[in-house]
């Protein structure tokens, strides 16, 4: 049971629509992203008078990803709002995306009047049915009196336990009917009571297992960021002195600059991070979920490792990989409890990790991330991304689209802080970058926010730059313009004999990105020569009163390495085309 503050408006007569807005205010919402239409229109009237900032987007998908960007930067629930039918279905992708990446989101949609539900009424869509598979929960509200409780429960569910998206669909007549506002003083859900505090025995078992291990590795996932457990993680790592890998969703959870950090594991992970998981005798898994992009072929993943799996979601335990020691609970509480338990266990016996650390450090130095510059002197996409990271510094917040540029942004920017790297990990949603950057900038107005976007992704959601320009949300967008759906093209190069079916975008010809940017009220820049790179980035950094879009016209054939091809074993990692690491010279 959770108790909450009761607002002064309680007991007052008002419309369902006003009670919705009062409920959002009571839930401490300060901003929401949305776009009105018939079914939700009654709510937009009281929104006009509310203290909540409403940002009018150009497409509801933009509202959803913006709410996600806001949530990922602030740790609070992001809120988006749309009308029934097509407005609601435009939120489907962001809701699925937020479900995959455990983002706290509350989506509010208008529904046709309750009497018309089921009649194929104008703009009727069963959005509750549509979103059932990927929301953490959803509601259909048909009575005005039920609105405050549904909103209160939605925020509670979205932000507690394993965070996730919650949709509240409200029939138009419920918004129009008069009611008495009644914000619930407590929330009690018989079927929902997430475990926060881990049990002592599992902590003791985990500590004992760690203290026996000669080759442990911290496998860190996005849950560490959600639990705000970075500080505690750093203490735990210092205590044990074992190597760390951070997944795509966890970049920034542990500083890249730390010597024990081996980088990102998985399909495009570093040789050291991938190998550490493969050769470890113990995975200390913290808020990660053994996703196929990390494990590669599961039957060959970390075969000799015991597994400690700490997660707030019990359904993740034993889902893909058997856990010798499951620890269910909030990660900050878990790590906080583990530190003294491990200290005590290590005082009794402390295995020598030196050989293991030495071989991992050797892999790290032998196979650093790198790239070769194009022979023809043209601009290297990796160099562009690396320079943006260096010039804008480690306080900058980065978002990305999905594709090669995303992997390079994860690889070649050094992340030092949690909540500075936002991307669509589980869903791989092209078009996430620009609207997520918009939401991130709204959530952290003083931070520099760069969207590292692809020329393909950018063309899916760039309309939100209009929203940014009109609402004083000066984000910066780097289009890594390789004139193709580069990641797909890379697979065609490697697995389809270079038959480039439908991956050429010709985006060095059309559209003219700087002109498109200018048309949307942004500053448009472009850069084609390596010698102009730093000056162009610095120019973009100097503009802070308008969104900036830079068209970086890069070499088309660059590829993302290392790579573990889909469905193959992590042992088959390639550092370049047809080039495996020289395993014979490594002692593992």
């Amino acid at each position: 049971m959770t108790t909450q503050h009761v607002p002064t408006a309680n007991g007052t007569a008002m419309s369902g629509a006003t009670s919705l807005v009062k409920s959002l205010e009571a839930a401490n919402v300060d901003v929401m992203f949305g776009l009105p239409g018939g079914a939700i229109l009654p709510a937009y009237d009281p929104i006009f008078d509310s203290t909540i900032r409403h940002i009018l987007v150009r497409h509801e998908q933009g509202a959803g990803h913006a709410a996600t960007g806001y949530a990922q930067v602030t740790g609070r629930a992001g809120v988006c709002i749309a009308t029934s039918g097509p407005g609601a279905t435009n939120l489907v992708t962001p809701l699925m995306d937020a479900g995959m990446d455990s983002v706290p989101l509350v989506a509010i949609t208008g529904q046709v009047p309750s009497a018309a539900i089921g009649t194929d009424a104008f703009q009727e869509a069963d959005i509750r049915g549509i979103t059932m598979p990927f929301t953490k929960h959803n509601f259909l509200v048909t009575k005005a009196a039920d609105i405050p409780r549904a909103i209160a429960e939605a925020f509670h569910i979205a932000t507690s336990g394993r965070p996730g998206p919650v949709l509240v669909d409200i029939a138009k007549d419920a918004l129009q009917t008069q009611t008495t506002f009644n914000w619930p003083a407590k929330i009690e859900l018989a079927g929902y009571n997430p475990r926060i505090t881990p049990d002592n025995q599992s902590i003791a078992d985990a500590a004992a297992l760690i203290a026996q291990s000669k080759k442990p590795v911290f496998y860190v996932g996005g849950g560490v960021i959600k639990a705000e457990a970075s500080k505690e993680l750093a203490q735990l790592v210092e205590l044990l002195g074992a190597p760390v890998v951070t997944t795509l969703m966890a970049r920034g959870a542990f500083p890249d600059s730390h010597p024990l950090h081996l980088g990102m594991p998985g399909m495009h992970g570093t040789v050291a991070a991938v190998t550490a998981l493969q050769k470890a005798d113990l995975l200390i898994t913290l808020g990660a979920r053994f996703d196929d992009r990390v494990t590669g072929k599961l039957s060959t993943f970390a075969v000799s490792a015991k597994v400690i799996h700490a997660d707030i979601d019990p359904a993740e335990i034993n889902k893909n990989k058997f856990a010798d020691v499951p620890v269910v609970g909030d990660l900050r509480e878990t790590i906080t409890a583990l530190i003294p338990a491990l200290k005590a266990a290590l005082e009794k016996s402390r295995p020598d990790l030196t050989p293991w650390n030495a071989s991992m450090q050797k892999l790290k130095s032998t196979y650093p991330l790198g790239y070769t510059l194009p022979d023809d002197g043209s601009l290297s996409p990796q160099a562009v991304i690396e320079r943006i990271g260096k010039i804008s510094g480690s306080e900058t917040i980065f978002t990305s689209g999905v594709g090669q540029h995303q992997m390079w942004a994860s690889q070649f920017i050094s992340y030092e802080h949690p909540r500075t790297w936002l991307n669509s990990g589980g869903a791989g949603t092209m078009g996430y970058g620009v609207p997520a950057a918009m939401g991130a900038k709204v959530g952290a107005p003083d931070a520099t926010v760069w969207a590292i976007d692809g020329d393909g992704c950018f063309q899916m959601t760039n309309q939100e730059l209009v929203t940014c320009a009109l609402n004083n949300i000066p984000i910066k967008v780097a289009i890594i313009n390789n004139e193709s759906l580069g990641m797909v093209r890379q697979w065609q190069t490697l697995f389809y004999e270079g038959r480039y079916s439908n991956t050429s975008l010709e985006s060095k010809r059309v559209p003219n990105f700087p002109m498109l940017a200018e048309a949307m009220g942004c500053v448009g820049l472009s850069c084609e020569r390596p010698e102009d790179l730093d000056a162009t980035i610095e120019k973009a950094m100097s503009i802070n009163d308008q969104p900036v879009v830079v068209d970086f016209r890069v070499h088309r054939d660059a590829m993302v390495w290392p790579m573990v091809a889909a469905g193959t074993s992590n042992d088959e990692i390639m550092i370049a085309r047809a080039t495996a690491p020289d395993w014979d010279s490594q002692e593992l």
Partner: protein, 94 residues
């Protein structure tokens, strides 16, 4: 044996059958039979589900079911008696 019978108490609310059957469908769990009925509490319904595991673990089926907010509790029925479900996933009963 790969056929198990579970008794699931759920909130008696519109759409709850879709939530449960949809979960089984999307995670490729097989339902052999499903019966829904009332309980003495009008706000709570009871589902008795025969699940044919076919390679899935009962523990995982139960853990996923328990993630549904509308699911209140889950018990396995063995020869008509309630059996506490094996607790390898600690606290899956919330």
């Amino acid at each position: 044996m790969s056929i198990h019978t579970i008794e699931v108490l759920v909130e008696n609310e519109p759409g709850v059958l879709a939530r449960v059957s949809g979960l089984f469908a999307r995670r490729a769990y097989n339902i052999d039979t499903l019966v829904v009925g009332p309980t003495s509490n009008p706000e709570v319904s009871k589902m008795v589900i025969q699940v044919n595991l076919e390679g899935h673990s009962l523990e995982q089926v139960i853990a996923q079911l328990d993630k549904l907010i509308s699911v209140i509790s889950i018990e396995e029925l063995v020869d008509g008696a309630k059996k506490p479900v094996k607790d390898t996933q600690p606290d899956y009963q919330n």
